[in-house]
């Protein structure tokens, strides 16, 4: 555990350096902050425009649909802030920068995330949360403890989901360098999908197992029960985010490693994934001379 905490200052330094370099061009950074809000503003405005023409969308009136928009926007924008720049993985693979990342004695995924954490997207995440709060407050929800829990849990689970999708689709680039746009079909496509009530897509996505169990499903339970689409059952979908949380727990940066082809640790979840696998690199935490480390290394090779 001490080892594990020992690398935290290194990550912190990475993050601080990033933050400093991004904020140093103040005007640029401000323009970026404002511009990034624009994307989510347009998404929300689009939904409002659609509601000019219709009173209900997929069986949901505007106030309820806006809760879904808020859940989706908050979750996506936050995930985009935290891991969105993993999309650049394919440039790193192409240019060879990934090799430099792998040589360093730190976990690959945390490094990739911290190397260009897009702080300018913070404004978008804040706006997404603001939309969610405003929508929840104006939706006239009949609050119960379960619904309060849901409205807190749903965006968090949504963030984990979108983050996993970002990482998974970025990992495609290990096999398919030009896969970039395929990734957006699932990341941005997932955002568009969760922005609208799932009843809109009736016929294509069976409601008991939607591929993106983020916002819309959860919102169905959170919203008042007076009007429910025939497929708007909440229970079966509400359960899905929890599975996802188990599958891709925070602080377990496995996906990039798994994608790199190292499957060994998948069946050993008790062992911190970022520790083994790269022990053969002598520079790793300057431990090469420690006998116990050599022992561990031999252990890793024999396995």
């Amino acid at each position: 555990v001490a080892d594990r905490l020992g690398v935290l200052p290194a990550y912190w330094a990475l993050l601080r350096g990033q933050a400093r370099s991004q904020v140093s061009y103040r005007t640029s950074f401000l323009v970026d902050l404002v511009g990034n809000v624009g994307a989510t503003v347009f998404d929300v405005a689009t939904v409002l425009v659609l509601f000019r023409l219709t009173r209900t969308l997929g069986g949901f009136p505007r106030a309820e649909a806006m809760v879904m928009v808020g859940l989706s926007a908050a979750a996506f924008a936050t995930a985009d802030l935290a891991v969105g720049n993993i999309e650049r993985l394919r440039q790193y693979v192409r240019t060879g920068l990934l090799d430099a990342v792998l040589v360093r004695p730190l976990g690959a995924l945390p490094q990739l995330l911290l190397m260009d954490l897009p702080l300018r997207k913070a404004s978008r995440a804040l706006f997404g949360v603001a939309v969610l709060v405003a929508a929840v407050l104006t939706a006239g929800i009949d609050w119960t403890p379960a619904r309060v829990g849901l409205v807190v849990l749903a965006p968090v689970c949504g963030v984990v989901f979108f983050a996993s999708i970002f990482v998974t689709t970025a990992a495609l680039s290990f096999w398919w360098i030009d896969s970039g746009e395929v990734g957006s079909a699932f990341t941005y496509g997932g955002r568009d999908f969760t922005t609208y009530p799932v009843t809109v897509y009736s016929g294509w996505f069976p409601c008991s197992s939607p591929p993106w169990p983020g916002g819309s499903g959860c919102a169905t339970t959170g919203a008042p029960d007076h009007e429910r689409g025939p497929r708007g059952r909440a229970g079966d979908r509400g359960a899905r985010p929890a599975q996802g949380v188990r599958g891709t727990g925070p602080g377990r940066p496995v996906p990039a490693d798994e994608a790199a082809g190292d499957r060994r640790r998948r069946d050993r979840p008790d062992r911190p994934a970022w520790r083994d696998g790269r022990l053969h690199r002598p520079q790793r935490r300057r431990e090469v001379d420690h006998p116990e480390d050599a022992h561990r290394r031999a252990d890793a090779l024999l396995r």
Binding site: G38, A39, T46, L50, T56, W176, G180, V182, Y201
Partner: protein, 284 residues
Amino acid sequence: VGSVTATVPPPITRNIGWMFRTFAAITGSGFRRYSTYRQATLAGAFTNTVFGFLRCHVLLAVATGAGGVAAGYTPDQLATFVWVGQGLLAVVLLWGWNDLAERIRTGDVASDLLRPVHPVLNYLAADLGRAGYALLTRFVPPVVAGLLFFDVAIPSRWSTPPIFAISVVLAVVICFGCRYLVNATAYWLHDVRGPMMIWTFGSGVLAGLYFPLHFLPDWVTVPLWLATPFPSILQTPLDVVVERDDWPVQVGLVAVQAVWAGLILLACRAVQGAAERRLVVQGG
């Protein structure tokens, strides 16, 4: 249009055939350049199709909620609107072109200025080649997907396909001009992220990609159509192909496009001239 590089007097073009041959050669090279990115083409067509499904379902749900007809579009017309729009998106290349900005940033643009072809024409020719390739590879898959999975409106008047074809060509030219102008801000700003971001977010909504602009109130739509080039990039060709209006109106819309295409190209030329003067003043 000869070269207007600030350092070199424009060459006198004795034979206009030479210009067309050059233009055609550059167009061909643009076509070939993009045809080498086959994986990217496949990935892009897949993504456009996925988004087509999402957008189509949403707009159909709007039509259902609005009692069948939404802002004058029947569900069939909305399906055509979405799927042809998803195809055209790659043909006009709304997003993701920063070749010129990169060349300006790295200084490679200097070699463009040495060529005996005006940079705007040079890039326009290459972009038309790119659009030709996109028309074959990126336009067809989403449209076929739409035909297979949805009830789409198919043009019923013989006059619509030719008007649509002209409209698409003009849309490519207008979109190219807008992208050129956005990229050309790099001559002054060096970092085009800001203008590029505004363009990316603004163009999707204002061009009619996310929803048909007729969903907006008339007092927004009409000024938008006449005073900005955005609706001419996607909304006009799409309105033509779904036959929202009679043919005289269609021709009128395309005429608006033609005016915008001319204005934008003139603006590109003026901006390029100003930029070259600036480069010379800087000693470049």
